[in-house]
């Protein structure tokens, strides 16, 4: 059985339509969405309504949460004050444009979905704002999957699609306690786990301009990262027409999303 996982749609209708059309040609059984339906892009209502119409099971992203609850992350979300100012402009614009019905839909989304031995979140099991980057500390990455109680953790938020398998792990634990002065020494095998990041449909940050998503084949237990071309000009024109910062269009057109990576991606937002 094949499952598609999409994430970080960011109100980019043209990209969402192209990805869903690609999924429809792949004999996909289910689609799961990891949130961030809105933010940055010019078609928040259209994208939310498309997801609702297709009845795609979705968990809440950090942008979806912020639209409902207000901006509550600390300054970890942005790499610079300029980026933060632009982000806040997009937040305000989206809040004004989004219908009450669509806001209610975003508010109703769960923060995680569990399906068998798979766990689906936007950022990490810790927080919708935490980035699980492909090269983060391997032991911390393993801990994030373990805390979800799953074999495979599906996430988004970084906008970088990847599959990371963690295995052949072990650690020696040596304990001295107060009552027993003798040390206890054991070697423990660490579990084999996997993180799958679906990348981003509406705001790719992999250095190219194509939308990305992943297909999980649970019979073969493999994961395919798919790139999908879409009508970028249509989205860029809509961004300009909407009065959103022009840099959002420039980034999509040139695949320059690396400029918006958080500096300290290992930081866990405490708010």
């Amino acid at each position: 059985m094949k499952h598609a996982v999409i994430s970080c749609l960011h109100a980019n209708l043209s990209a969402v339509e192209a990805v869903l059309a690609d999924i429809d040609q792949q004999e996909i059984e289910t689609i799961t969405c990891l949130g961030d339906l809105v933010g940055y892009g010019p078609q928040p209502n259209e994208v939310v309504e498309l997801i609702r119409d297709r009845k795609i099971e979705t968990c809440q992203g950090c942008w979806d949460e912020d639209i409902i609850d207000g901006l509550d992350a600390c300054d970890c979300s942005y790499p610079s004050q300029l980026a933060e100012r632009r982000g806040h402009m997009a937040h305000q614009w989206t809040t004004e444009k989004l219908t009450d019905e669509n806001k209610e839909f975003l508010a109703s989304l769960p923060t995680s979905i569990r399906r068998g031995r798979s766990f689906f979140v936007h950022g990490s099991p810790n927080s919708q704002h935490e980035y699980l980057l492909p090269d983060m500390d391997a032991f911390a990455a393993l801990e994030r999957v373990e805390m979800s109680g799953a074999d495979t953790l599906f996430c988004g938020h970084t906008h970088l699609p990847y599959v990371r398998e963690l295995g052949n792990g072990s650690i020696r634990v040596n304990i001295k306690n107060a009552s027993d002065r003798e040390r206890e020494d054991t070697r423990m095998t660490l579990p084999i786990r996997r993180i799958v990041n679906a990348g981003s449909v509406g705001e790719p940050r992999h250095g190219g301009v194509n939308a990305t998503y992943v297909i999980h084949n649970d019979i073969k237990n493999d994961v395919e990262i798919r790139e999908v071309a879409y009508d970028i000009d249509r989205t860029c024109e809509a961004i300009i027409e909407a009065g959103l910062p022009h840099v959002f269009a420039w980034r999509l057109r040139n695949g320059f999303e690396f400029a918006e990576l958080a500096e300290d991606a290992s930081h866990v937002c405490e708010r």
Binding site: D135, D137, K176
Partner: protein
């Protein structure tokens, strides 16, 4: 001069025990720094005398370096120092009576001092904290999974984490950690073996049970009030 840290927690208003520990430490050789890792207040007895002693140490006392613990967090929350949050965890676990008892056990005069306490200290490559780097209420024990312990250490970017919340005394070392990582992305595949240098989590105990740490040799000594007096000339004196 041997550099040593004395680490204690969980006094919960018990001035007598604090005085006995101070007495023990006077009999201990070395250049000693005293760290009090929270839970100096509690609901069971009036805490004002102990708080007064911590704020105004007697002549000859080792000066205490204090952080706040779980009970101080509950007290501060209930007293309006944590925004809209109240002592929900305490109320949930022990009921309204415990919240009332805690509020009655501390004179509001001391709230300003308690609210000025830090979440933890980072000394050399060690984190000194009440619970963990994740939360003041986080309980780390000898049974906590190694990956969780590594995560709490990594979050503080230290090699050793001293914790008090479990009330247990233990020195747990994590060594020879290794894991293989295989990443596939749009640029292809790459494999890497990850290893970690030695890390440790030290449970310092609570109340009459406290810990001495020899900074130079990385040795911990788990003590109970009176041990120093009994062992003069033998062990740590």
């Amino acid at each position: 001069m041997i550099e040593r840290w004395a680490l204690l927690s969980g006094l919960m208003g018990d001035l007598e025990t604090y005085e006995l520990i101070q007495k023990d430490l006077k009999n201990t050789r070395g250049d000693i720094t005293l760290f009090v890792l929270g839970d100096v207040v509690g609901p069971d007895k009036n805490c004002d005398a102990l708080l007064n002693r911590l704020v105004n140490p007697h002549r000859g006392d080792l000066k205490p370096n204090c952080i706040y613990g779980w009970w101080e967090e509950q007290l501060l929350a209930e007293s309006g120092y944590r925004g809209e949050r109240k002592a929900d965890a305490l109320r949930l676990n022990k009921g309204d009576d415990a919240v009332t008892a805690l509020m009655n056990a501390v004179d509001p005069y001391y709230l300003g001092w308690i609210s000025s306490l830090q979440f933890g200290f980072v000394e050399l490559d060690c984190g000194l904290i009440h619970g963990s780097s994740k939360d003041v209420g986080d309980i780390l024990t000898m049974q906590t999974p190694p990956l969780t312990l590594l995560d709490r250490i990594t979050r503080l970017n230290v090699n050793r984490l001293f914790t008090a919340r479990s009330k247990q005394q233990f020195h747990l070392e994590l060594t020879d950690a290794v894991v293989d990582s295989k990443v596939k992305d749009l640029n292809g595949k790459r494999n890497q073996e990850h290893t970690l240098p030695k890390r440790a989590v030290i449970g310092i105990g609570a109340g009459a049970n406290y810990t001495l740490y020899d900074v130079g040799s990385d040795q911990t000594h788990f003590l109970t009030v009176g041990d120093m007096t009994k062992s003069r000339g033998k062990g740590f004196a």
